[in-house]
Amino acid sequence: MSYEKKILQMKQMLKKKSPTTEKEQPKFKKPNPPLYADAWDEVGLKKISNDWGTVFLKETHYDLDYQHGKYKLGQFYDALALWDQYEDEHPLKLTSDDLAIFYDTETTGLKGVGTHIFLNGLLEESPHGFTLKQYILADPANETAFLFESRFWQGEKTVITYNGKSFDWPQLQTRWTLNRQHLPPLKTQHQIDLFHSSKRIWKNDLGRMKLSMVEEQKLGFARIDDLPGYLAPIVYLDAVRSGEYEALFQVLTHNEYDLLSLITLFVQATQLVFSEVEKNNATVHTNIGKWYNDLKQSDRGIHLLEGISETYNEKEAAQANYLLANQQKRKKDFVSAAENYKKALPYLVERQWIDASIELAKLYEHQLDDLIDAETYTLNALYKVKSAKFYKKEVKSNKIAEIEKRFLRIRRKQGIK
């Protein structure tokens, strides 16, 4: 029977209510544990009962020399030691004074109030290693109990996630809001989002920034028989309807991999940010130098970029030279700036080529007093802009007007001299 037919046959089921006075919201009534609670408890999903109801917990311990991909978890402390020495602010900064929690959720959907978090995975330091606590929503009636156990209402923590700023944390806030009559307020916790860091570090180097891609290409970890993330909701929806738990363990493993990878990703990202230049990947190092510049820590940026310039050949170092020139110009080291622009120029993409040429024209016109060179770079830029296809119409005509103005002025100056 078609959906429409079915619904329309239910017409007689529709009753209207006469308006009644609204009854008061009843006080909190502790929900019953689901029917499958004991069965799940027996297979290792520990049944926990708190004031608000029931929640399941799977706890796993890892020693410091536990190997995940090419790292041991203990290397986390080497990373902390590096940050302990770092005086400025940095989005990745995490010191031994911070209480770090690696956090990853699994949810029943992608957005909206009807999407539940059904798994809170929390990976923390513990004596002799790390402990993973995976809290599983017993059923939607027991959500308050589930949220309470996350302890995010307690203490000052640094929450480390992969895309948590836009996904996991807002989802948690939504669930918290719905249970706010009963829960202590959710604390605004400091966050480190390794998705953002990965984008800064591996831009133009990795095609996609999916965690599994980073694992495979960078962290030396390959997942075997991993449950694809998009199947997780279906598994949970089925588990709470049928009480079947087998497939749920696959979701737990998936979540466990995610969290272990976050530790090693943090280790690698830290190493890259701190490392002196080695001969392996100019793109990554240039990205990190640019990151420093954007954080207004240009001394570090310049130092790193100079290192790239010395270590790699001119083609590989072209981006670094270009960025270096920008910084040097800002620091009024005009001679070095011009030199680095010129070094970069033959290898730049068209848009940067135009910008670099204009910068050179400016430098030669105003600072280095070489009007002939200034005119040459101006004309080169003008020619390229006119044939460029990537500008929006308005941007293009503004650019042309600007360059033509410069050209006429340079001509005029030459005439006077």
């Binding site: 619904i7 239910m10 209510k17 029943t108 909206g112 309807r241």
Partner: protein
């Protein structure tokens, strides 16, 4: 060109002495001017609001604005009937601003049917706030709102202006991000109430029910303020839409000048077929005369193409002057800044003529003009009044010219000016009981907040329906609560605007590689109008359907130039499923209930223009469409002296005319209901006319017709009788063979059979 400035009065006098005009103007009606009724400012009105009003020269209110203020501040929901230019925005803006001045936490949510209207009102509101010199934040929130400021709007906006679609899919399903709005919501403003009718209105009614459910959850109990154009049942509509008791403010205190209505019928160019000269050409000529007399005029045309035709033509009047902007087009999609320019141009007189689509009907304020021309009847009285309301400044005389097209409705209106001016505009109805619409929104509501056992959803008791959704694996029931347990996002699957969920998209691929979508059509109409080889006429251009992909709901068309049109036969099987109401009308019986229709497109004919010869035919291969809906039917004993064939022909003619008349009774689009005649209906073996809602589950339209059968048939008779054609034409009973006496038979059937024998 001779330009000679005239007043409206001088122009009317001039036309009255012109024999050509005399023969075409079939009626002249004059509405007298009306003085303003004022009321003083309410005592508690905040000083900074007084200051802002004073800066605009306002020192007292119109009586309806004061009444609105008093209801709102007494926490009484109300609906105000506000014709164009009656100062409606102060009806809601004053209490809202007062509420925020008294409690800076208070919030207001404004709903407008379109984004453009929200933009307009935001500018107006912000101007007022600026004049008050207070810190009140007013924002629009829709698809165009920049992601960067969305958070600010959610958390800090005192006044949020949006549309029902955004509320439905962008706000309600994310209500936890709007806690400060929902906790403190004091007023919900529903502007242009009359636009929320039929399927769309029924959807919006549910969106408002969901909104109230969420407000209740956060502990607020907002007051509804609705404003509506003149319709017959504003209070009833508001109450059905908001599920709240309303007071009605009907008496409008704003003044209006004298209005003269001219009913203009283009001359007949083909006697046999009753075809008149194109209305658009007549409008051109009239507009030219008004332009030459320097009378500021607004012209309404039904489509963008027509607007463009008129703009091009009228601009040629001014081509000699460089940069002459005295003629401007106005279509949907103009930016507020462009509207400001038009508004300013009208004020300072640089713009003389504005040509607009119906977009301007919807409250967009471009100021008042001296004259208004309607190209054709806009489909209902309420719209006609809105268009007419564009003309008329406080003291000035206003001229409104209605130019009729050849269609049945237009001709009816010109024969019956009292229909339009008799001050009885249509009813607007919503039907939240429609099961499919209800089910859609029940899902959304369950997504937004869990249901507890015994909870109602608005006025509905839904425990059984929720149990059904558990079986469908959408909800999960714990001991006494239903929770959403699915990975889908229901609001995305539900569009408020489309009547039938799946429309056929029409794609023009005349130019290879440049295919473009030119329109869409509900799948029911598509069976007869978009089958392969059909000639589809879109804004005056002929297209032939090359391919109809029924699975994908796409029709591919190519522009052609042929001398025929196509006409498809639709065989409709009708089964009565249940009879809910029945009554005797003389010897006939009228009933109302559930029907199931099975429509199959069978064959199509190619019919030559003018001669109406059949020049070819072909089969149509489409699966039958099933529709379970509500309907009303009228059956009677077969007259003994009629053959089945004659009866069939006459009933077809009557059904054709009825189809064009139903919009007169129930404010609806023509495609919302359908008339089917059967010489022998399956369930009673009698000749029967069926009228059913063309939307699954029904939308309450045929239920209205059930009460109107008698007057419907009387009107059909009057109209067919007064039609100027000889043998039947598209304006009355449909195109007929040249030799036939179909029109006589139809009249005879209506008169001697239906009306005299059965209705007595």
């Amino acid at each position: 060109m001779i330009r000679e400035k005239r007043t409206v009065k001088q122009l009317i006098d001039l036309w009255q002495s012109d024999p050509k005009m005399q023969s075409r103007v079939q009626h002249i009606r004059v509405l007298d001017e009306k003085e303003a009724t004022y009321a003083s400012f309410p005592e508690q009105l905040h000083p900074s609001i007084r200051k802002a009003l004073a800066s605009r020269g306002i020192h007292q209110l119109y009586s309806h604005q004061r009444e609105a203020f008093d209801y709102a501040t007494a926490d009484q929901s109300f609906t105000a009937v506000t014709p164009t230019a009656s100062g409606k925005s102060l009806c809601y803006n004053l209490p809202v601003l007062q509420g925020i001045m008294e409690n800076p936490q208070a919030r207001a949510l404004y709903l407008f049917p379109t984004k453009a209207l929200a933009q307009d009102q935001k500018s107006e509101m912000n101007a007022l706030i600026e004049a008050m010199d207070e810190e009140i934040l007013c924002y629009t929130y829709d698809g165009d709102t920049a992601p960067g400021i969305r958070q600010k709007v959610r958390k800090a906006g005192h006044i949020v202006m949006t549309n029902p679609d955004m509320l439905h899919s962008g706000i309600l399903p994310h209500h936890t991000k709007w806690v400060s709005l929902f906790e403190n919501l004091k007023y919900i403003i529903v502007d242009e109430l009359h636009t929320y009718k039929g399927v769309f209105g029924s959807h919006v009614g549910h969106v408002l029910r969901r909104l109230q459910r969420i407000c209740h959850y956060y502990g607020s109990n907002p007051v509804f303020i609705c404003t509506s154009a003149t319709i017959q049942n504003p209070k009833e509509l508001a109450e059905a839409l908001t599920n709240t008791t309303h007071e009605l403010i009907e008496k409008n205190g704003a003044p209006s000048g004298k209005k003269t209505f001219l009913f203009y019928n283009p001359p007949i160019v083909n006697e046999t077929f009753g075809i008149r000269r194109s209305a658009i050409l007549e409008v051109k000529d009239l507009a030219k005369k008004l332009y030459e007399s320097e009378i500021q005029t607004i012209i309404f045309a039904k489509s963008r193409v027509r607007v463009e035709m008129l703009v091009t033509y009228l601009k040629s009047l001014t081509f000699q002057k460089i940069h002459d902007e005295s003629v401007r087009g106005y279509r949907g999609g103009y930016l507020p800044s462009e509207r400001r320019i038009i508004e300013k141009g009208l004020r300072d007189g640089t713009i003389q003529t504005v040509i607009s689509t119906n977009a301007l009907e919807l409250g967009v304020d471009i100021g008042q003009l001296q004259a208004c021309i309607m190209t054709g009847y806009p489909g209902n009285i309420a719209s006609a009044w809105q268009q007419a309301g564009r003309a008329g400044r406080r003291q000035d005389d206003a001229l409104i010219i209605y130019v009729a097209q050849s269609t049945a409705l237009d001709q009816y209106v010109i024969q019956h000016p009292d229909y339009l001016l008799g001050n009885k505009p249509e009813e607007a109805r919503v039907y939240p009981e429609n099961m499919l619409i209800l089910m859609d929104h029940l899902k959304c509501a369950a997504f937004e907040l869990p249901f507890n056992q015994g909870d109602s959803y608005a006025e509905f008791d839904v425990d059984d329906l929720l149990t059904y959704l558990v079986e469908e694996k959408i909800l999960l029931k714990t001991s006494e609560t239903w929770h959403w347990m699915s990975d889908s996002f229901p609001a995305h699957d539900i569009s408020l605007r489309s009547a039938s969920q799946e429309n056929v998209v029409i794609i023009d691929r005349t130019l290879t590689g440049k295919a473009s979508v030119i329109g869409e059509m509900d799948r029911y109409s598509a069976m007869t109008l978009l089958h392969e080889e059909a000639i589809y006429i879109h804004q005056g251009t002929q297209y032939q359907v090359e391919e109809l992909d029924w699975e994908e709901k796409k029709a591919y068309v190519k522009e052609v130039d042929v001398n025929y049109f196509t006409d498809a036969n639709l065989a409709v099987e009708l089964k009565v499923i249940s009879e809910d109401k029945t009554m005797k009308l003389g010897k006939a019986t009228a009933s109302f209930g559930d029907v199931m229709t099975l429509a199959t497109a069978t064959i199509f004919k190619k019919i030559r223009f003018n001669t109406h010869d059949n020049i070819g035919s072909g089969p149509i291969h489409l699966p039958p469409e099933e529709l379970h809906t509500s309907g009303t039917w009228l059956n009677f004993e077969q007259p003994t002296d009629w053959t089945d064939d004659d009866l069939n022909g006459a009933m077809l003619g009557v059904a054709y005319a009825m189809n064009s008349f139903i919009p007169l009774y129930i404010q609806s689009d023509r495609s919302d209901v359908h008339v089917v005649p059967q010489v022998k209906a399956i369930h009673n073996n009698q000749p029967t006319f069926f009228i059913y809602d063309r939307y699954p589950g029904g939308i309450g339209l045929s239920e209205r017709v059930y009460d109107y059968w008698q007057s419907l048939i009387e009107h059909v008779y009057d109209h067919v009788e007064s039609c100027s054609c000889q043998i039947g034409c598209p304006s009355c009973i449909g195109a007929q063979d040249q030799s036939g006496d179909a029109k006589d038979k139809v009249l005879h059937f209506l008169q001697s059979f239906l009306l005299e024998e059965l209705m007595k």
